[in-house]
């Protein structure tokens, strides 16, 4: 659930703003003018598996399972979104009607190791 800095290696959230004018879609999308296409990137070595962005109890559960099952220490887990929010969109449909709707889980707010 940390924002990536330039040299982040560990799992973090990389922010990227998409401007609808820049992709030529501002003629049919009325509002907003763009949105945050954030994504999760970075390493998830074993000792952080299940940690940032997840309940700490989950983290300790994962570690005890790893020890109990003698999982190879080189194993990695995955850097995934752990909190997302909807995007409200106002756009013209193919019949020039105006449609207002929310797209669920569209914006990644936090990342964590699975």
């Amino acid at each position: 659930s940390l924002r990536c800095s330039r040299d982040s290696a560990l799992c973090c959230r990389r922010d990227h703003y998409v401007d609808f004018r820049a992709i030529g879609w501002n003629d049919w999308i009325i509002s907003p003018e763009g949105y945050q296409l954030n994504y999760c990137v970075g390493q998830c070595p074993l000792h952080v598996a299940g940690s940032p962005g997840m309940a700490s109890s989950f983290h300790s559960a994962v570690l005890s399972l790893v020890k109990a099952n003698n999982v190879r220490t080189a194993a990695h887990s995955c850097c995934v979104p752990t909190r997302r929010r909807p995007l409200s969109l106002l756009y013209f449909d193919r019949n020039s009607n105006i449609v207002k709707t929310d797209i669920p889980d569209m914006i990644v707010d936090a990342c964590g190791c699975s």
């Binding site: 013209f92 020039s96 009607n97 709707t101 889980d105 569209m106």
Partner: protein
């Protein structure tokens, strides 16, 4: 996971283009569209702004929908159809959202009633649904609303037409036809004589649909 997440042959430009393509894909998937809509005829910004103000004036949307439900609000601008009968025929193209089980929960027609300056007038507006194609005299009509509007000066009036949509976005064809008649001393309805008319009648429909994909994702 764990693989080198940076693309070895990517320069900043390539990465930006990859992300823009990803954003387009994500938006179209989120709206359940195969491709971006090609706008057939642009709607004057004045009419859009006015309609959005009405949408906001309709009050805040009812609380957050349940997780696996999605809400839509659609504003559709009327086109006027020629008719040999008295009154006006308005046509709306309601392309139903791509979900199948859409349930229309509210549908209101906004009409601009013009009244001579300074006069107080009573205008009776009757609205009926035309079922099928063809002119007013040759198709079945379902009366939706007949209401006396006491108007002091010109202004917008709304009429509920929920029965017309019967829970869906109108007939399978997606085209909804309404026949309007107004009678009264001096007042009249401003129809959509031409597309640039800033006071074109428009329809506001609110709908909700079950979001099967979202339900599975949450589970």
């Amino acid at each position: 996971c764990g693989a080198a997440e940076r693309c070895p042959s990517c320069g900043a430009g390539t990465e930006r283009r990859l992300l823009e393509e990803a954003a387009k894909r994500q938006l179209l998937d989120g709206l359940r569209l195969r491709e971006r809509p090609r706008i057939a005829h642009a709607v004057p910004r004045v009419a859009v702004a006015r309609a959005l103000r009405r949408l906001q004036a309709d009050g805040p949307r009812r609380g957050d929908p349940p997780e696996d439900e999605r809400r839509f609000e659609i504003i559709s601008f009327a086109e006027e159809e020629p008719t040999s009968s008295p009154g006006t025929v308005l046509r709306f193209h309601l392309s139903p959202p791509p979900d199948r089980d859409v349930r229309v929960v509210q549908a209101r027609l906004w009409l601009y009633v013009r009244v001579p300056r300074g006069a107080v007038t009573n205008v009776t507006v009757s609205i009926s649904l035309l079922e099928g194609r063809g002119d007013v005299g040759g198709v079945r009509r379902v009366s939706l609303s007949a209401r006396r509007v006491s108007a002091r000066g010109s202004g917008w009036r709304t009429f509920s037409i929920l029965p017309a949509l019967r829970g869906s976005f109108g007939p399978e064809s997606g085209t909804l036809r309404l026949h309007l008649q107004s009678s009264g001393d001096g007042g009249g309805i401003v129809a959509a004589s031409n597309a640039t008319q800033p006071r074109r009648p428009f329809l506001v429909a609110a709908a909700s649909s079950r979001d099967p994909q979202h339900r599975v994702a949450k589970r």
